[in-house]
Symmetry: C2
Subunit: 121 residues, 2 copies
DNA sequence: TTTACATTTAAGCAATCACCTAATTAAGGA
DNA sequence: TCCTTAATTAGGTGATTGCTTAAATGTAAA
């Protein structure tokens, strides 16, 4: 799968309050579908669909034991998503630093100001 | 706004490849709507809508200058989203550590094994 | 003042989403 | 074997999404 698609699926999966609550529950330990569903005021099929979204994003796995499915969290997709966000923030901070330096040099040379191409937000 | 809603908006905004590319571009410095739109094979209104989604998520701001809007990235929502993900991973790792310890003590006491309530994924 | 440019609003459309109820599958226990 | 429990699939609905084209807005430049 393309990294783009993976990221899109992970972010989309996390863009829903119910699914975030499910993941938060599973981060404390594995659980059955029933144990997850009982915490929500929602039909079982609705929860089942949320689980499918989380599973397709790679955020949970199911292991079948008799008629119970044990749900477990997987952290790897979080790493990838987190890394993407961190990268953007890093780049943005680098940019801000460069901008500060530029503004600093302008201040030193205040008698001959030049246009700055960009303004600090 | 509720933190839930904020998180949902940020994650939803990031769940689209086009919007992630826009944010990646703006992380390198501010730009006008036209400068952003020119990089996509998509109508101007479509880009405008993507920008609105990013703006509502707090990920960009617009400053109006004549007929040009200067778009700038905002990192704060990324921090909140990143923190949420980090928290889940932290909890999950704590859980795994506790599990490892439990399995370790079982190994020591191999002659009298007890059921483990959960299995490692 | 007219014209051109940058961008947004309006309106419409097909696809997807988040739910629902009803029906189905699959395993365990009486 | 029949019944119960656990969970999923099927099918339907209203809301939202991501795009489109056409029209509107607001500013600058001729």
């Amino acid at each position: 799968m393309r990294a783009d698609d993976r990221l899109s699926r992970v972010f989309a999966a996390l863009a829903d309050q119910t699914r975030r609550e499910i993941l938060a529950q599973l981060s404390q330990g594995s659980a059955s579908v029933g144990e997850v569903a009982s915490r929500f005021d929602m039909s079982a099929p609705a929860v089942s669909q949320h689980l499918k979204v989380l599973e397709r994003a790679g955020l949970i796995t199911r292991t079948v034991q008799a008629q119970w499915r044990t749900l477990s969290m997987r952290a790897e997709p979080l790493d990838e998503a987190s890394a993407w966000m961190e990268e953007q923030r890093r780049t943005w901070n680098l940019h801000l630093d460069a901008l500060d330096e530029h503004l600093g040099s302008m201040k030193k040379d205040i008698s001959n100001p030049q246009d700055s191409k960009e303004t600090k937000p």
